[in-house]
Point group: C2
Chain length 283, copies 2
């Protein structure tokens, strides 16, 4: 590897295309709209609608509750996510209490929503069982830097595996990644070859094979930290329960730099302790 | 290196000691108070006062202006730092316009202020000349993740070299670091052996030799981005002029993880475009 590659930043731009059709899917709280479009050269391709919120200025987390009435909880909710995970803010769950079954897949849709990059897992048969209740894996996506902190420390990357049960309740399995010079997490490395194809907000590409087995084995063999919080993006709806891996998973430098170059910055600031006043309330 | 080292976090705690004497120094806007104390075993040692602000909850950036009247600018100023650096927010300065002379030193005081880790350079003879005006290098310190973003992208670490002129005006030279598997920045690697000794907030240690030559050569050979902003910490005083390296410097995984384990999270959120309403004003 030439050292210059450490300093390369992908160039991003917005797609300017003609809409042909659209369809919505995703969880009831996190809708995605996929369009089939024809570009300027007449080639038909699919793209995903770009998020209407952002992470900077008056589109960013301090103003989400001002962007739309439905985002009221973002600036007023008292059980918001992310939080600082520590002895008093989260409960420790013994290893194995959360059971995960995600079949390996030949490929999955990888989307750049502008606000995150997301792998669509709906219909792939991933199921997590918590207290005998089944949650279907809908998608997993990333935040950089991490949203949750551990005793105040942040990490370079956080993954959210978003699940929904038949009664619409949401559970999120969260994993934090720490840079490591000697090892990485196979699932992240498997996504890397497809990153360039989704460098532009709105773009969609197909990943190669994804093997979840080592990630699941590791996640289910360690204690988890759990608490009831909210979506970390608008509309910041409260109710989702987080199960956060208590130890970090490794990520290599190249994969981290490539993910960060696309997501740029997409981390909501740490919210107040559950039940206390929203940090933005009455400022 | 054993791979487990990627997942190690330093344990931090607060010093509980008896104050014997104190003296203040630093720039007029960023005071530091150093105490000579006797610990529980009767050993006399020096420590630095821990910052009265933080980065989480009601001690954090959304509430700095509520912590003290003198912090009014943090929640009301319209030329605040950090900002997103882009074509419209900052001006490009040609390479060589900023002249830096920092003699190599045998050692310097390295302090953990709770809010950052800082190398004291007062009296070491470091001088930066901008438009024929001389600024003395007072200290340099770090933020992780980066405070300024580049076209929306954040970086894992940012260094601020804080200078003050005879008329008290402040200029800050800023460098962003990008993780790199094949190289690092010698100045950061030179600080690494002393990090463990300042793992506790309030602690002070002496660095080994610091050689600034390659850092200066690189900084002064690239275009810089400049704008007039503010301190990025309370009291958020406006006036400081930033000169930010337009390209990133490399940092290795081990040094990055060690710095982050101590600083944990110390990045103010990106402020609004200069002249626009403060993001926290009227929420």
């Amino acid at each position: 590897m030439k050292s210059i590659s450490c300093l390369v930043t992908l160039s991003l731009g917005f797609l300017a295309e003609q809409a042909l059709a659209s369809c919505g899917h995703g969880t009831s709280l996190l809708e995605r709209n996929v369009y089939t479009k024809r570009d300027t050269e007449g080639v038909t391709k699919r793209s995903v609608a770009i998020s209407t919120f952002g992470y900077l200025g008056t589109q960013g987390p301090t103003h989400w509750h001002k962007l739309a009435e439905k985002n009221y909880a973002c600036g007023n909710g008292t059980h918001q996510s992310p939080i600082d995970l520590n002895e008093s803010s989260a409960t420790s769950v013994r290893a194995g209490k959360v059971k995960i079954q995600i079949p390996n897949v030949e490929s999955a849709e990888f989307e750049n929503l502008g606000s995150t990059i997301e792998v669509v897992m709906e219909g792939k048969g991933g199921v997590t069982t918590i207290n005998n209740k089944k949650y279907d894996l809908k998608q997993f996506h990333f935040h950089s830097p991490s949203e949750h902190t551990f005793n105040g420390e942040h990490f370079p990357l956080e993954m959210h595996m978003v699940h929904q049960a038949a009664d619409s309740t949401i559970s999120v399995l969260a994993i934090h990644f720490q840079l490591c010079a000697t090892e990485s997490t196979p699932l992240l490395k498997a996504l890397k070859p497809t990153l360039q194809a989704i460098s532009q907000p709105g773009s969609i590409a197909e990943t190669g094979p994804l093997d979840f087995s080592s990630l699941i084995r590791k996640f289910t063999s360690m204690q988890l930290l759990t608490y009831s919080g909210s979506l970390t993006t608008p509309p910041c709806t409260e109710g989702p329960v987080f199960y956060v891996a208590s130890k970090r998973f490794p990520i290599d430098v190249e994969t981290y730099n490539a993910i960060k170059a696309i997501m740029k910055f997409n981390s909501r600031f740490v919210q107040n302790v559950a039940g206390e006043k929203n940090l933005l309330s009455g400022l």
